[in-house]
């Protein structure tokens, strides 16, 4: 699939009806200026340890150097690998529901921080509800959101889009027509994002 086609597929998938009418706007799970010259789509799974590694190790530096400086808009796309990560969908649902209250990123950070605790649980729901308190989210509203099929449908729409864009593993990053696969060191992101930024600013 050509890079332009990949971009079209991913963007079209993310603009699919389920997301177009979504009560959770894309902006709720994006960071950075909407007018940033570069957009990165991170296709990620909250139960994937390599996604955790990216979130904990590389992303803080990327955020400081590229997102906060207006160079990059970063968008999180759910791609739960349900066959190997049975708790990935409940975790994604938790983050999506938190997004309704503008707490997607704090929820994202907590989910990855405590991944080793909730990932092996048979039923992660009680533990996830303890994060509601940490995030100061309204408990009844969160509980109601987590029970909605609509939330799962949004996650599935995300995952479908990720698959159509060519992602086969997590984390995968769609950056300006190319895919970067895996939890790569921050140096690689620096190289790619700096090169792209310079090219776009010419």
């Amino acid at each position: 699939m050509s890079s332009n086609l990949l971009a079209a597929v991913l963007l079209a998938s993310l603009a699919a009806p389920a997301l177009a009418q979504s009560p959770i706007p894309m902006s709720a799970r994006s960071k950075g200026s909407p007018t940033a010259p570069i957009t990165v789509y991170e296709m990620s799974d909250f139960q994937c340890p390599f996604c955790r590694r990216h979130a904990m190790e590389a992303f803080p530096a990327i955020e400081n150097e590229f997102v906060k400086t207006g160079k990059v808009r970063w968008i999180f796309v759910n791609y739960p690998l349900t066959s190997i990560h049975p708790n990935a969908v409940p975790a994604a649902a938790f983050a999506m529901c938190a997004a309704k209250f503008d707490k997607f990123w704090p929820a994202h950070d907590l989910l990855f921080l405590h991944q080793e605790t909730w990932a092996p649980l048979k039923n992660p729901a009680p533990f996830l509800m303890t994060l509601v308190d940490s995030l100061k989210l309204p408990k009844p509203a969160m509980a109601a959101c987590l029970e909605k099929q609509e939330t799962v449908a949004l996650i599935k729409a995300d995952a479908d889009g990720a698959v159509k864009s060519g992602a086969q593993s997590t984390p995968t990053f769609y950056i300006d027509g190319s895919l970067i696969v895996g939890a790569q060191p921050v140096e690689l992101f620096r190289y790619v994002l700096d090169s792209l930024y310079r090219a776009k600013k010419k």
């Binding site: 390599f50 190997i84 593993s169 997590t170 939890a183 790569q184």
Partner: protein
Amino acid sequence: MVTACRARTATIRVSIPDLNGVETPVPGLVVSFLPYNRDSILTALEGKAGPRPRTRELDSLFQGFRTPFIAYLKANARLDSLRSGGAPAGSMAAAADSLAAARAALGQAREQLGPAMEANRAVVRQWEDSVYRDYSLITRSMGERVFANPVADTTDAVGWATITLTNGRWWATAHSIDPTDPNRQWYWNVAITGDTVFLSPQTGRRRPRY
């Protein structure tokens, strides 16, 4: 180096020779899938220890047991064959007598050799407990390093098992009874390099059940 999560499916088929030497599927067998090479860890641990004790004694006892066991199997098979073939009553009675004699000889061998086998096996168990003491610790840390945990599946009625694995290197390991010898077993520890893996006499080995 693995840096991403990815699901892949592996299919395993287990088969061993039956009493007549015909390769036959093994149903209901637990196959473990490990993100490390079990044998290499065991070999490394064994390398630090002295040789496994009492193997010569046990091999000799196993050999002593094997003769009456094979005689019993043959007598049993002969009677079955006569029954299914509708043989005359006289032949069946003779075969039944032979089977009874073989069963008695087997029982006698069990009585004579069993206590010595158990005593020697207890010594082997002690040796294994000591030599493999750190196995769990080592494998847990190896699993953590590659973010993968052992998983298992049981073969279906025709010897197949299917499992979803994360990417990275995996080994399928299993052991099955050897129908021709109760003191031996079939053992496999096979690297999963494709979508389908065969645990068969070609990929496994028969080893003593110390």
